[in-house]
């Protein structure tokens, strides 16, 4: 009202300029806050790398050194041989690999079973499947232990690997959500061509679902690789120990050699970090499809 004399275009320009200025002000604040949060995120990780390269003297000097000089790369070798990490890496790889295979096979079968055809009781069973996601892991931990000790499976990998072949509510749900988005015509066309259901599952559903399968593989690998409580409860033979148990052994000695703990931590975490980096695209897609897990 006060700017009647000014042309409409001049009014718009000044309003836009003011808006641009405030936008830049807020963006500046955003970058500042994000930098603060980033420092909080980064400092433990950088501290881990830095510690892994320090000598005992540097560790106890009381100064904050981020880049140790000289850098003790030999800490990594010493950490690797101080406990039997070669064996533990082999064990953990076999364990995680079996879990991934079991998880992929069983859950993709189950997910396909839920979408391929309407059947009596489907809605009720699917509701039960969703419900089991709400059951706390610690509630089933004790009864499962009792079951496996009655089966005399304790002391072996069976209690850790076999359940992976019998489906998992979360992964089955994630895959089912993805499979629902696949074009049903493809299944029908295959059926008309006389294809069996297993063939459709293997040759049509699985090849089209690589992002979802990659997400499930990644999560289940991470779960098994990082599992600590499971191996602690079920494994008692040192020859069967996993990387996580190996790492915990550093802690049991009276004076902890932190540079070795950190060096071992770096190489234990590395495979998961690499896999996440490699599968990041799939992971974000999978997370968007299911809206879940982080």
């Amino acid at each position: 009202m006060y700017n009647v004399a000014r042309s409409p275009s001049a009014l718009q320009t000044s309003a836009r300029r003011r808006r641009t200025a405030t936008t830049w002000f807020w963006k500046g604040i955003a970058v500042l806050v994000l930098s603060g949060i980033s420092i909080f995120v980064l400092f433990p990780a950088v501290w881990m790398l830095s510690t892994s390269l320090k000598t005992n003297a540097q560790l106890f000097s009381g100064e904050v050194t981020w880049i140790p000089r000289p850098a003790m790369w030999s800490n990594y070798v010493k950490a690797w041989v101080s406990v039997d990490f070669t064996r533990y890496t082999l064990n953990t790889t076999l364990y995680a690999g079996s879990v991934v295979i079991g998880t992929l096979v069983s859950n993709s079968l189950v997910a396909y079973g839920f979408i391929r055809h309407k059947f009596w009781g489907r809605e009720v069973l699917f509701a039960i499947l969703l419900g089991t996601m709400m059951i706390p892991g610690m509630v089933t931990m004790i009864p499962q232990y009792i079951l496996f000790s009655k089966l005399q499976w304790t002391g072996s990998y069976l209690p850790l690997v076999v359940p992976a072949f019998f489906g998992n509510a979360f992964y089955a749900f994630l895959l089912r959500q993805f499979f629902m988005g696949l074009p049903k015509d493809l299944f029908e066309a295959a059926r008309i061509d006389g294809a069996g259901e297993m063939w459709i599952w293997y040759k049509v559903v699985l090849p089209l679902s690589k992002p979802a399968l990659a997400t499930v593989a990644l999560f289940s690998f991470e779960g098994a690789w990082n599992d600590y409580v499971g191996p602690v409860i079920y494994l008692n033979d040192p020859n069967l120990y996993t990387l996580q148990i190996g790492l915990s052994m550093f802690r049991n000695t009276s004076d902890v050699t932190w540079q070795f703990v950190m060096a071992a931590s770096v190489f234990i975490m590395l495979p998961v970090v690499i896999l996440f980096a490699a599968f990041q695209r799939y992971f974000v897609e999978g997370a968007a499809v299911s809206g879940i897990k982080g």
Binding site: S106, M138, Y145
Partner: protein, 303 residues
């Protein structure tokens, strides 16, 4: 509804059978590894079961004894304390970071990558890393505090008053790994809404409160549910980092249950604890779903 009997054709029976075959791995797994064992522990929670020698009916004694068990009550307090602080803090930090990253700012990609770090650094390694970070003498936090002139530094995990706050700080770091999830939610917010709001003269803060939060509320709701369940069940952190100490200040529910079951082998007592936890989880989840009607906004619902 008419009570017409459902008479499936032979073909439909066959199709249903095939479907059941496909879902049979989960069905079997559910019966053998979840439902069956849980019913078994429900029964054993009324006994003095210890796996090897005793299995006598004791009625409600396990349950009544729990509520006079000082350590049990302490573990409930510790778990509640941890949940009440860690969940809101984690969600607030995660949403804040995601909303800021989602602005068109310089360095967006770099920030995204940095916030992915807590998601991919996982396992025992991270727990041990934080033990070292919190180390009272050589840890980086206290060393930095010394550098800026604060010498009366906390003992963190070695002090019963600081142990829970220390674990909560760590949980905020972990929660930043969820920024990716919030970003996925934010990306679905149509840009026109912000443009319309800013033309109407809404400040960025106002836009955040009136546009971003309502449209992000389904994601936040999901995080509240899983976050509370996760916090109620977190105990491996305490098992590894503090062994429940000092003075039982980090004895969480799950850790106490683990000790009762696997150190003392009092399975009946532990089974009662497991069922109480199941009830607590169900009640809290139920309350949240009921309360969600008031604040969670689903698009197309129309308000």
């Amino acid at each position: 509804m008419s009570k017409k009997r459902f008479r499936p054709s032979r073909g439909e029976v066959r199709e249903s059978l095939i479907s059941y075959l496909f879902i049979s791995p989960w069905l079997l797994g559910f019966l053998v590894f979840v439902a069956g064992p849980m019913l078994f522990t429900l029964y054993s929670s009324f006994t003095n079961y210890d796996i090897t020698s005793t299995f006598d009916w004791v009625g409600l004694r396990n349950y009544t004894r729990l509520f006079t068990d000082r350590l049990f009550l302490k573990s409930i307090y510790n778990t509640g304390y941890y949940t009440v602080f860690s969940v809101p803090l984690g969600i607030a930090v995660g949403v804040l970071a995601a909303v800021l990253v989602n602005l068109e700012i310089p360095g967006q990609k770099l920030f995204r990558t940095i916030f992915f770090l807590p998601r991919i650094l996982t396992g025992l390694s991270v727990l041990l890393l934080w033990v070292w970070v919190f180390n009272p003498e050589q840890g980086v936090i206290n060393s930095l505090l010394n550098v800026v002139g604060i010498h009366n530094t906390p003992l963190w995990l070695n002090d019963e008053h600081w142990s829970k706050p220390a674990l909560i700080i760590m949980s905020a770091w972990t929660a930043l790994g969820s920024v990716v999830i919030y970003l996925a939610g934010l990306q679905s917010v149509p840009r026109q809404l912000y443009e319309a709001a800013s033309i109407d003269g809404a400040t960025p803060v106002r836009q955040f409160l009136s546009v971003t939060i309502p449209l992000l509320s389904p994601t936040i709701f999901f995080k509240v549910i899983t976050g509370i369940n996760g916090a109620l069940q977190s105990w491996v952190n305490a098992m590894v980092m503090t062994k429940g100490g000092p003075s039982d200040s980090t004895l969480f529910y799950g850790l106490y249950m683990y000790r009762i079951a696997f150190t003392d082998m009092r399975m009946g007592y532990a089974a009662a604890m497991a069922w109480i936890m199941l009830f607590i989880t169900l009640i809290i989840t139920g309350i949240q779903f009921w309360g969600s009607k008031r604040w969670v906004y689903y698009e197309g619902e129309g308000r």
